[in-house]
């Protein structure tokens, strides 16, 4: 009845063209009002026609936006495009309206089969297009929807574009808004289109007429705006529109980007349009719904042309009235949850400030800018910290979309099946063990796949202890495919369309959210194992950041060995580990600077722990030095005086690292505030490295073991110096001078202090091998220390030996010697000290 009158009120003859701003809540509301008023017989929507079959799923109660239509090439799941839809997207509103009113809805844009093929033709993104699941969505916001399906065809910073052109392509309404002096296109739309002439009953079609007019003017000036594929897409839209008009008559509504409206209105011939659509490349594609998140809608996450503030837009769309008051109340609620004191009086003042600011800036209503300023000044007391929280939780929002189970399988699943086939690795419910030799290509591929799946939380295989060899090129896995893993695969589909791409995206996200340094190091190791070089830069950056801000040298020292280990693994697998080496060197550098102060004033337990760190760092620095020839690094490029040398960028950098490490140890060894065990350890390492001569070591030891040092401290020093099973005992066996120092110190320990040092000494010497212990015991019984007394060591002679031969013992050997040499008479035999020594 009234249908026909309503239709006649629509602007102009022909179909009802509703030019919208993608993801504009204002547009969405206007579209709904216009559809309600016009009640068309069919709704045509800008989007890939392959998705027509998926439209009914939008009515599924389990379907909750934000969601995205995902198109991907069947044979190449990495080639994909997304069309994200939020509940405030006009397209979503149109789809829902059509479903509610049982009116057919059709997508009319160029089929994804062509748009995806375009990307392939140009040979773009052959590598791994699905790496960043966010990025490929050249889709919805841009009026040139899937023009660059992989999002890589044209980066926004393509050289030949002026900023205006770029903005026009991204968002023509934003260009218009900017021309009108607005920084927020949504505000401009609200101000100019929605609040225009608000007297009396508003004409629901007036905004669209106005936009059509403006777009007509824009397109007259800019033509296709540098989008050479638009004519083709628009030709297809016109063709679909004609088909719909034949089927449903004139009463057809079209919801499309405002940019396209003039083109759809234009009079062209069927023949001309057909000509444009001839010979388009094709690729077999598949479509499905995937869940989306607000964060990915937000531009900040790298999504080419998203919206800055999906949360705010959602609020604008949902709030029935008083958007500003409701918004500020929401903000206050959030801040209260975070234990900030925010009273209703605060909210009142914030509303007043926002409204006055709007007046001052000449706007009819406060927008996001005004409310944010008010929140900062009133609710956050000028601080940006809580404001960041507000931005994260409300302005962007934490909404995660849901897709019903009936939606077709995600491409990740297909990719996994393909990989399984390629690597001849069948999913079996029965548990079995798999031995991999990483030197073989297939096995290396299998290892990578399993590691990637683990990163994605799909625990098909679990690493097991190798039974046989422990070489770095062997891996053992325990495999078992559980049915619920399929669910996990579907869930992981959020991360990307290929296993590799998804794992990379997941690793990057994990790296950004990891809290502890050790987590990131573990992740870096995992990335190398899983062969995800593309994730490494992000992970490394996160690692460097965490390392820079971590004030606990212990954490850094723990991270270093794992990193160096990764470095060596990387070598085995032929991964480029230069970035890793650089970060490792930087980490070592930080350890060097932080270690001496961190070693001061530690109690016994802390000192013991720190000793472990010192040893770990020592090993790591050594390995880092060995890895040097393959890896160049800019770090650690100073020569002795710390001056940059041009040759500093050479592999010698790592050797330099070792030198600097020794300097740190020297500092440690000489600092009184450093616990004895650490000083002793430092001296020991320096001795082993040949940095300190035996003379110097003896001097240092004598210093520590002199009566001025508290016995407990001296005992700790000894533990650090010769403790541990790492050949500490042999040192004492071979260098009797040191043993003599220990011996004479020990005998000089006062009786009352002896019980204090006994546990320490016991700990030190009990780990020696029995043979070493016995030898030392014998040496001590013989009394090396006694002979040293009287300054024998200073007057010369081989260390550990008396200045003169022991005539009595030498004589005892003589009969045997005579027998051996066959000499009957040997008048004066110079008893050979060496011979005696060698006998021991």
């Amino acid at each position: 009845m009234s249908d026909d009158t309503a239709w006649r009120r629509s602007p102009g003859p022909g179909p009802l063209l509703l030019g919208v701003r993608h993801h504009g809540p204002g547009s969405a509301r206007a579209v709904r009002a216009a559809l309600d008023a016009a009640r068309p017989r069919a709704v045509l929507i800008e989007g890939p026609p392959e998705a027509d079959a998926l439209i009914p799923l939008a009515a599924d109660p389990e379907m909750r936006p934000p969601v995205a239509l995902l198109a991907h090439a069947v044979d190449e799941p990495g080639r994909s495009a997304f069309w994200p839809l939020a509940d405030f997207s006009p397209e979503w509103v149109a789809v829902r309206w059509a479903l509610e009113h049982e009116v057919p809805a059709r997508f009319i844009d160029l089929p994804a089969t062509h748009t995806l093929a375009w990307g392939r033709e140009e040979g773009e993104a052959v590598a791994i297009p699905g790496t960043e699941p966010d990025e490929p969505g050249a889709g919805r916001q841009e009026p040139d929807a899937a023009e660059e399906p992989d999002g890589r065809g044209r980066k926004p910073d393509a050289a030949d574009e002026s900023p205006t052109d770029r903005q026009l392509r991204v968002d023509p309404l934003a260009a218009l808004a900017e021309a009108a002096g607005y920084d927020d296109p949504e505000r401009w739309w609200e101000d100019v289109v929605e609040h225009r002439g608000g007297t009396g009953e508003r004409d629901v079609f007036a905004p669209f007429a106005a936009v059509e007019e403006a777009m007509g003017a824009l397109r007259e000036t800019y033509g296709a705006g540098g989008r050479d594929r638009d004519p083709v897409r628009e030709a297809h839209m016109r063709q679909r529109l004609r088909a719909a008009q034949r089927e449903f008559g004139e009463r057809v509504a079209v919801v499309c980007g405002a940019w396209h409206v003039p083109a759809l209105r234009a009079k062209t011939t069927v023949a001309a349009d057909r000509e444009l659509l001839k010979g388009l490349p094709k690729v077999r594609t598949d479509m499905t719904w995937v869940p989306w998140t607000n964060r990915r809608l937000a531009r900040a996450s790298g999504y080419g042309a998203g919206v800055d503030s999906p949360g705010w837009y959602g609020h604008l769309f949902r709030a029935p009235d008083r958007p500003v008051e409701r918004w500020l109340t929401k903000v206050a609620g959030l801040l209260r949850e975070e234990d900030r004191i925010v009273s209703s009086a605060h909210v009142i003042e914030a509303v007043r400030l926002a409204e006055t600011l709007a007046v001052m800036r000449g706007r009819p209503l406060p927008g996001l800018g005004e409310t944010t300023d008010a929140v900062r000044a009133v609710l956050c007391e000028g601080s940006d910290v809580p404001l960041a929280l507000v931005h994260d939780r409300l302005v962007v929002g934490d909404v995660l979309g849901e897709v019903p189970e009936a939606a077709p399988a995600v491409p990740l699943q297909r990719d996994l099946v393909r990989e399984q086939r390629r690597l001849r690795l069948k999913p079996e419910a029965l548990e079995r063990e798999l031995e991999l030799d990483l030197r073989k290509d297939t096995d290396a591929g299998r290892s990578r796949l399993l590691h990637r799946l683990r990163l994605l939380g799909i625990d098909w295989g679990e690493p097991a202890e190798s039974r046989g060899s422990t070489g770095t090129f062997r891996e053992t896995w325990r495999l078992r495919w559980e049915p619920e893993l399929s669910v996990r695969v579907a869930e992981a589909g959020v991360w990307g369309t290929t296993v590799e791409g998804a794992a990379t995206a997941r690793a990057e996200a994990d790296a950004e959210h990891a809290s502890a340094l050790a987590d990131v190091t573990g992740l870096a190791e995992h990335c190398l194992l899983a062969g995800l070089p593309d994730a490494l830069p992000v992970v490394m950056r996160a690692l460097a950041d965490r390392a820079a801000l971590d004030t606990d040298v212990g954490h850094l020292a723990q991270a270093l060995p794992a990193l160096v280990r990764s470095l060596r693994y990387g070598d085995v697998r032929g991964t480029d580990t230069r970035a890793l080496a650089e970060v490792a060197a930087g980490l070592a550098e930080r350890v060097f600077v932080g270690l001496p102060p961190a070693c001061a004033a530690l109690d016994a337990d802390a000192a013991e722990e720190m000793r472990g760190h010192v040893d770990a760092v020592h090993t790591a620095v050594g390995l880092l030095g060995e890895t040097a020839p393959q890896t160049q690094t800019a770090a650690a490029s100073a020569d002795g005086t710390g001056v940059l040398s041009p040759s500093g960028q050479s592999p010698s950098g790592h050797r330099d690292l070792r030198r600097r490490w020794r300097a740190v140890l020297r500092t440690l060894s000489g600092r009184e505030t450093v616990p004895g065990v650490l000083r002793g350890r430092a001296v020991r390492i320096l001795l082993d490295e040949g940095e300190l001569g035996p003379e110097e070591v003896a001097r240092l030891m004598g210093l520590v073991l002199s009566p001025g040092t508290p016995p407990a401290d001296a005992a700790a020093w000894i533990e650090g110096f010769v403790g541990g099973s790492g050949g500490g005992g042999m040192l004492l066996v071979h260098d009797e001078r040191l043993l003599g120092l220990v011996d004479s110190w020990l005998t000089g320990v006062p009786a009352e202090a002896f019980t204090d040092v006994l546990p320490l000494l016991r700990r030190t010497f009990s780990v020696y091998e029995p043979g070493v212990r016995r030898t030392i015991g014998e040496l001590v019984r013989r009394g090396p220390g006694e002979r040293l007394q009287g300054g024998a060591a200073q007057t010369g002679g081989t260390p550990g030996f008396g200045a003169e031969a022991d005539a009595g013992r030498a004589d005892a050997v003589l009969p045997v010697l005579r027998l051996l040499l066959g000499l009957d008479v040997l008048d004066v035999l110079d008893a050979d000290n060496d011979l005696v020594g060698a006998g021991r």
Binding site: E349, L353, T356, M360, A377, E381, G382, T551, L644
Partner: protein, 372 residues
């Protein structure tokens, strides 16, 4: 009778070492007020929009050029002016040297045409400075009366509907601060001795400044805090702006201290500013490496003093050219405030950032020398 400061006569303005904002920029204020046709809040000399223009600069329809008084985000000035228009008190926060006082003076001058209703906050600021005092001779001779009352600048601002200013609010003892609560919430100042009160006239408002690095001094009670809208004045946004500010101030200071002219210091100034910014922001200028921030403020003002000190060194003890060695010691002093923690931060910075930077060899060496 009320003691009031007589309007300064023109000859004094001429010879004043530093004229008040409303005198120095009288012509601009007059031009703005004359051409301002937007609605003005009660007793405002001009509309909020014109006040914002006065601070941010611009050109009026008749061609009068308004010089910018504050170089920074427009948003900040807009929020500040709007706050005053909504009769909420304004609290300007910021580290030293971010033009808090300067902005507050110009705001008062533009809004009320008078920036002299000022209470300087110190640890010894008494309650009388904010409420009222007594003229004891009068009080003894005639007993308590309105005539014996000595009003504070705040009281006068209330009575006349003007803008009062409180400098360094957080330095004022907490009990004295709290006398502001009644004034700001009830907009009235009772005088119990006389059984009277002074009610604020429309147009009264208050601008306070506080240093947010000294938060510990006398933190505002939340009751008082609630009466203020807070605007944080940021440090210069871009390195170039900061280098410019430092170079200009150093030049002025050097002249007033009669330092010999030292050429070509700009490179060294750039380095000082870079070091300060990087440590302050906790990230290198290229945004690739994060850093720990030391405990000091490292404000622009400190960068200025480091460069000035370096200039003096170069002029008197060096070869007359500002070199890395001349500023190194100053930087060390500014960065290392806490001898233990800050020193580690500084050395880490030297070893991981400065050492590898092209063309910073001499600077690295100089810093190593003084740090050792």
């Amino acid at each position: 009778m009320t003691v009031s400061v007589e309007p300064t006569d023109p000859t004094t303005i001429e010879s004043a070492l530093r004229p008040h904002a409303e005198h120095a920029f009288a012509a601009e204020l007059a031009a703005l007020a004359a051409q301002d046709d937007r609605p003005r809040p009660a007793r405002w000399k001009m509309s909020p929009w014109a006040v914002a223009t006065y601070l941010l600069g611009g050109t009026l329809p008749d061609g009068t050029v308004i010089t910018p008084k504050y170089v920074g985000p427009r948003r900040i000035v807009e929020v500040a002016v709007t706050t005053l228009a909504t009769d909420r008190a304004l609290l300007l926060l910021g580290v030293p040297g971010t033009a808090k006082t300067w902005v507050s003076e110009h705001l008062a001058a533009a809004v009320s045409g008078d920036s002299t209703l000022l209470v300087q906050g110190t640890a010894g600021t008494p309650e009388e400075a904010i409420r009222y005092g007594w003229n004891y001779a009068q009080l003894l001779a005639h007993g308590p009366s309105r005539d014996a009352l000595v009003p504070s600048p705040v009281m006068r601002a209330m009575a006349e509907g003007m803008t009062a200013r409180v400098e360094e609010l957080t330095r004022i003892p907490a009990d004295v601060q709290d006398t502001l609560i009644t004034i700001l919430s009830e907009k009235t100042l009772p005088v119990p001795e006389l059984g009277q009160e002074v009610q604020a006239v429309r147009g009264f408002n208050l601008i306070a400044t506080a240093n947010d690095r000294d938060r510990g001094v006398n933190d505002l009670s939340s009751a008082l805090r609630r009466r203020f809208n807070t605007v944080v004045l940021p440090l210069p946004e871009s390195p170039d702006a900061e280098v410019d500010i430092v170079a200009r101030r150093v030049d002025q200071l050097g002249r007033s201290l009669d330092l010999p002219a030292v050429p070509d210091g700009i490179e060294e100034i750039r380095r000082v500013v870079t070091v300060f910014r990087e440590l302050r922001d906790g990230v290198t200028a290229d945004g690739r490496t994060k850093l720990k921030s030391p405990s000091g403020t490292l404000s622009t003002a400190e960068a200025i003093s480091v460069v000035t000190g370096g200039l003096a060194l170069a002029a008197h003890f060096g070869d007359g050219v500002l070199r890395a060695g001349d500023v190194a010691a100053g930087i060390l002093g500014a960065v290392v405030r806490d001898p233990a923690a800050d020193r580690v931060i500084w050395q880490e910075y030297l070893e991981t950032v400065v050492r590898e930077r092209d063309g910073w060899k001499d600077f690295y060496r100089a810093c190593r020398e003084v740090s050792a």
